[in-house]
């Protein structure tokens, strides 16, 4: 069915896949900004934005009203506003770096997506083939390496803005990123120690991690979130800090830094920072789900293969690679979106940590904890996998 696609030049194939992923990520980032407003409203006992509607949708009797109440069309209204308002360039900024910063923000945000697989299917031999833009063997390393480049945009923006608050914000951003990067990396190591079992080729790929979470048996079907709860917890907290989300959003803290590094930005350039932030969140949530949440397996101890077998009893086409691929992508996206909801839920629950508390938690609590965690699992894995 898709033979013509595989006969295309690899570069064109890659471009098509990349565009397809961007076409998914961008609307999700837009929808996230809307969801953020809605979740905020619901938690505060408000209905949230629910007025904008496209005239011809209003003609649909019941569904149109439902979409309007859901605030779907405010996404378009927001986007349209951001596109068409005046894109002002303050007179006191370094123009080159000022314009470069939002672009630099987008590049790592979208580059990390390439290393994250988002689904899988079984070929005729029953072998698992992961779906992803680049099935890299160094998956986790690539994500860590590229995602930490994101801080350069904050630093560039803060410095080019030639203004105190953005500058302070960018200094905070770099300090915070370095502090939590350490414990994040150390928290992930036990997973890869476990995955690189003796006798298997060494790898840092996510495919192997998910494969290990979809094995039969009690220990095999267990998601790493249950097997290594402390790792998952440290990774989650560090993820909140890395994506500058509440309660670790000292970088953007409106009350003391106005708008931090994007104080001087407006219109579409500001929008790029915004999309980059949400892309980071999406990729971060995806990585968390791959490492600790079972990837595209529907439930703990229920792997994708088992689910497909069960569905096969009802649906004749359940074993078709296309169906399995779409199903796995849907499961994975659903989990990622649930994770993003959790981000928002936490944001509207917790107050912001003070900057000194952020540093104290990062260096005096998270780092020792993650080192102890690594030592414990290193010894445990050495004993178990001997």
């Amino acid at each position: 069915m898709f033979d013509f696609f595989f006969q295309l030049h690899p570069v064109i194939q890659g471009l098509a896949k990349g565009l397809a992923v961007i076409m998914v990520i961008f609307p999700i980032a837009g929808a996230c900004s809307m969801a953020e407003r809605k979740v905020a409203a619901w938690i505060q006992d408000r209905p949230g934005p629910n007025r904008a509607i496209v005239p011809w949708v209003a003609w649909i009797p019941f569904f149109g009203k439902f979409l309007q109440r859901l605030g779907i069309f405010h996404v378009m209204a927001d986007g349209g506003k951001m596109l068409f308002k005046e894109d002002s360039l303050p007179g006191h900024v370094n123009k080159f770096y000022f314009i470069l910063a939002p672009i630099v923000a987008m590049i790592p945000a979208l580059t990390t997506v390439t290393a994250v697989p988002f689904g899988a299917y079984f070929d005729s031999a029953g072998k698992v083939i992961t779906l992803g833009l680049a099935p890299l063997d160094i998956g986790m390393l690539a994500v860590f390496a590229v995602s930490s480049l994101g801080v350069y945009s904050a630093i560039l923006a803060g410095w080019a803005s030639n203004s105190k608050y953005p500058f302070l914000g960018s200094v905070r951003a770099s300090a915070q990123l370095i502090s939590y990067e350490l414990s994040m990396t150390l928290a992930v190591l036990p997973v890869f120690l476990w995955v690189n079992a003796p006798g298997l080729p060494g790898t840092m790929s996510f495919g192997r991690v998910v494969e290990f979470q979809s094995q039969p048996g009690f220990l095999g079907g267990m998601w790493f979130g249950f097997l290594m709860p402390l790792s998952a917890f440290i990774f989650l907290v560090a993820l909140f800090a890395e994506t500058n989300r509440q309660p670790f959003d000292t970088v953007e803290s409106e009350s003391d830094l106005v708008g931090s590094f994007h104080t001087e930005y407006g219109a579409f350039k500001w929008g790029l920072f915004f999309v980059a932030e949400y892309s980071h969140m999406i990729v971060g949530s995806g990585v968390f789900m791959l490492l600790f949440g079972g990837g595209w397996n529907p439930l703990p101890w229920v792997s994708l293969a088992m689910a497909v077998d069960w569905l096969g009893a009802i649906l004749p086409f359940a074993h078709a690679p296309l169906f399995v691929g779409v199903l796995s992508i849907a499961i994975f996206l659903g989990k990622t979106l649930a994770m993003i909801f959790f981000f928002m839920w936490v944001r509207w629950t917790l107050p912001r940590f003070r900057y000194d508390q952020v540093m104290k938690i990062g260096w005096q609590k998270m780092l020792p904890l993650s080192i102890a965690n690594l030592l414990f699992y290193a010894i445990a894995i050495a004993v178990l996998q001997k």
């Binding site: 619901w42 209905p47 936490v346």
Partner: protein, 180 residues
């Protein structure tokens, strides 16, 4: 008063990890997430106006449909921001039963851009002819639109019950002598 020294307990280990409090907070916010919403969606849903509310000042008629204002101009004089402007006039000849009232406003303008909704006009009116009623939303595109003329004031005011029928009693007393 005796000073009671309250011992401040040091935080327990669990409290210092923040985690139980975070979980509690998440539970609270989730309850609100699914709770019924408290917003009054304004143009469709209107608030209940409490009694004694001071809305837009209006002129009222008595239950017989006659105008009550006698253009004594007390409201015009008492109005702190000078929002009221009255041009006094005669009662028209065809209203024979009201000839003894002598005066009625020829024009009665309230500039709603000046009005401060203080209610002094209602308080000072000896005829109970001007009332601040329930209308709370006034808008217009021009300054001229924001001036309520006499017709508009009567339209907004409508009819309110009258306990005295002051001028009917006066006429009765004049015609039939005082009952006392």
């Amino acid at each position: 008063m005796a000073v009671i020294t309250v011992e401040r307990k040091p935080l327990t280990f669990l409290e210092r990890t923040y985690l139980p409090q975070i979980a509690g907070g998440l539970a609270t916010t989730f309850k609100h997430l699914i709770a019924p919403k408290k917003t009054l969606e304004y143009p469709e849903q209107r608030p209940a106006i409490p009694p004694g509310y001071r809305g837009v000042p209006t002129l009222v008629r008595d239950p017989n449909g006659r105008e009550k204002c006698v253009s004594c101009q007390l409201c015009e004089f008492v109005c702190p921001p000078k929002a009221i402007r009255i041009t006094p006039g005669e009662i028209s000849a065809d209203q024979t039963d009201r000839a003894h009232v002598e005066k009625a406003p020829q024009a009665f303008d309230i500039d709603m851009l000046r009005c401060i909704y203080c209610g002094l006009c209602q308080e000072v009116c000896p005829e109970e002819a001007i009332f601040l009623q329930n209308q709370y939303s006034m808008s217009g595109y021009t300054r001229a639109e924001m001036v309520n003329h006499k017709d508009k004031l009567y339209e907004l005011g409508g009819t309110l019950p009258d306990q005295h029928y002051k001028w009917d009693q006066k006429k009765n007393a004049q015609d039939h002598g005082n009952a006392h």
